[in-house]
Amino acid sequence: MRSLLFCLIVSTFLGCGGPALPSNILIYGRGDDADRLDPIHTDIGESVTVMCNIYDTLVTYDEETLDLVPSLAESWSTSDDGLEWTFHLRKGVTFHDGTPLDADAVLFSLERLTVPMHPFVFDQVIPYVQSFEAIESVSAVDPLTVKVRLKRPTAAFLTTMAMFPASIVSPTAVKKYEGEFWKHPVGTGPFQFDSWNVNQQLTLLAFDDHWRGRPEIDGVIFLPVGESAVRVKQLLRGEIDIADNLPPAEIDSLSKNPEVIVQEKEGMNTGYLTMNNDKAPLDDQRIREAIWYAIDRDQLIKSAYSGHATKAVTLVPPTLWGSHSDLTDRDYDPAKAKQLLAAAAADGVPMPIRLQLFVMTDPRPYMQQPRQTAIFIKDSLAKVGIETEIVTNQNSQHFRRMTRGEHQLGLAGWTADMPDPDNFLYTLLDLDNINDVGGNNMSRYRSQKVHDLLAQAKVEMNQEKRAELYREAQEEIFADAPLVPLVHTSVRNVQSKAVSGYLLHPSSLTRLRLTKLAK
């Protein structure tokens, strides 16, 4: 109370609050707030949206494609054995706090991510630590050269360096703010952190000295608005400039409105139906195939995705190299499904089959209407004689229980952390990834052959050869049908007509440097 009075008196005499923000500010409405703005300590998409505008990585994606291009590293080379990577840093880059970018800063940032018990890591939660476990050591060769030594050749290493956890942070700021650095992020990115009123708004301002030139807009305010219906109203009234993560039906109706622009781009994700291969009767391949034949995915796309998705045949989305999307699909064929079930019954599989279908409560980009999808699958399976009970769990509990293998059928999906088939196939179907804590092979699919192919692809440095290995692995997986790939969804965003220059990126990263605002 005393501080309130003090502030009131002070502000009365001073006559004003903080400095007024510049006028050319973009307002970005989204469903939720960020959690922590330290790149090593989060895996929350809302934080990534902010951080990819504050920080830069050594390499990054091209403005429109998933090709890797130089960022803070102007160039790089690798040793013949693929174990040593040398990065040559860009000259004259500074952090927002004036600290110059040099090899020590890169060393500091990468060691925070990879060295256990690093003195400047104040929270033990480092979600992506596994993605960087191939790094053996990092060293500074000279002020502008960094060498990274790997434990084994890793084909996806360079792509990993474009991931947000490998963002380069200001060592001065980390040492200054210590455990509070996540509230005071300092990078070299196009925008610098200004203020954060948790659950209220997060403000970034243009960084005048960014090495690629100052952004077009003066800043951006990220506004968390939980209700999508409210975000739609705000967009139509001009209260926000971009509305993120709206349900398909809302976007469809907005696309008819001449006051807004709807952008759509194929995403890098897959929604699938996981089948627990460890549990009877799903341990019988015929039953799994019958389920595949019983689901009309074209119809599912119309009813649960408003038509804005493509039918999946394999886990790797067609937008990604190495996808074997020309596999001959198991088209919708309920008669064939019944035949397979009858054959299984003849071999003693008890009929009728009753299965539990696990469903998450909240939508995900690849599963935009989980409840509708579950009901669709339940009805489809009922038509071929499989009874299904829908079991709904809150999202984290849903994935938790499926990771433990408690389900029979379950809705699942994956949005790529990095554009590499390894991130789909190894992560979701390798036998290394079956465990009760965080193992993402929730189908519990065990194929030594697939494991060998994926392990070989991991260390193969030639991309064409890798693609061939992944194609072979996908053929094996398709034949075994451990899960039913359902859809790859489009990424869609809605913006006011005043916004231009903002391009949806297939990586789903929200990069606002080139965005312009006509206000």
Binding site: G17, I27, N197, L223, R237, G438
Partner: protein
């Protein structure tokens, strides 16, 4: 009277203590592990264990419970799993927004409810009565959530979210935006804050206004039919004097009772209203925390709400003492 007050204060403290223990135990008995929600799909057992140890959630419930009074006295409500900041500090930041909203809603609901109830009783069976009671019925039956969206759709020139325009938030030093803007003489800011406040306050005020109007009506009808008012009418007292001087004060005990109860209920109503209107108050903070399974925040918030509810009831009892001499005498 003093002994009555003392007993009520002790009862209130005991109620808060029981609520604290129940909330504390029930949060710990919830299935799942709070650290897992933080780690998500990247959970590794060693890290989950370390996080639980760091937060002190791995200790026996009884040991944690024994430490609780000391922590509460120090104002320590723990650390948010999701955001990693002090729960007490965040609650202190969000309570002003909830107070500003709730107080405005009370200021709208009480006069509106009383006036509607009085009009309804005076013109019983005619159109003002039907209009007021239809309003009351709608008020209690339309969910706040739906009402909020309706208000936004109807009042298209009013802001739909937040406490002020996003570009103005840096102008404030304190979390009492409207008060600060008025006290510092920045009327453009105050107007903006008021415009943002109006729709959520109306949405939040609807249920209490409806309930108060119904209670006022029945209480007034009872009083209006009493002998002393018939005498007052016979002696030629004006309608205004009859209503405001004689009838309403005597009908006020049940009205104060229900109004006080509604003030407590406003806190739970604020949860929905704040969510719809993106009002950055305590209610929205708690809803977000429940979704994020941020147990420390849920616990801290529930404790604060329980304490506020019990305090509101205590103040209500004190108001009775002041209003009704019979209670004073009995106590």
């Amino acid at each position: 009277m003093w002994s009555f007050l003392l007993v009520r204060i002790l009862q209130s403290l005991a109620t808060v203590a029981v609520a604290v223990v129940l909330i504390f135990i029930s949060i710990r008995l919830l299935p799942g592990n709070p650290a897992l929600a933080r780690f998500g799909q990247h959970s590794v057992p060693a890290r989950v264990t370390a996080e639980m140890a760091q937060q002190g959630w791995d200790r026996p419930i009884l040991a944690q419970l024994i430490d609780l009074p000391g922590e509460l006295l120090r104002g320590d409500l723990g650390v948010s799993f999701f955001h990693g900041d002090q729960v007490a500090a965040r609650l202190t930041e969000t309570i002003p927004a909830t107070l500003e909203l709730s107080i405005t809603a009370i200021l709208l609901a009480v006069p509106l409810g009383i006036c509607a109830g009085v009009a309804s009783a005076l013109w019983r069976g005619s159109w003002p009565d039907y209009a007021a009671m239809t309003f009351a019925l709608l008020g209690v039956s339309v969910p706040v959530f739906f009402l909020g969206i309706c208000l936004m759709t109807i009042f298209t020139n009013m802001p739909t979210s937040g406490r002020v325009a996003p570009t103005m938030i840096s102008q404030f030093h304190t979390d009492f935006f409207l008060c600060e803007a008025i006290l510092t003489g920045r009327f453009a800011l105050a107007l903006d804050a008021l415009r943002h406040l109006l729709l959520p306050a109306v949405a939040l005020a609807t249920i209490p206004a409806a309930v108060i109007s119904r209670i006022t009506r029945s209480s007034m009808l009872e009083v209006l039919s009493s002998d002393y008012l018939r005498t007052a009418k016979a002696k030629g007292a004006t309608l205004g004097r009859i209503v405001w001087r004689h009838a309403l004060p005597n009908a006020s005990v049940p009205i104060v009772n229900i109004a006080g109860f509604q003030v407590g209920m406003l806190l739970s109503g604020a949860v929905l209203t704040e969510t719809v209107f993106n009002w950055p108050g305590m209610g929205r903070y708690l809803v977000t925390a429940v979704r994020e399974q941020d147990y420390a925040v849920v616990q801290g918030g529930a404790l604060v709400i329980a304490a506020m509810f019990v305090t509101a009831n205590l103040l209500l009892d004190i108001a009775y003492l002041w209003l009704d001499p019979r209670i004073r005498t009995q106590s």
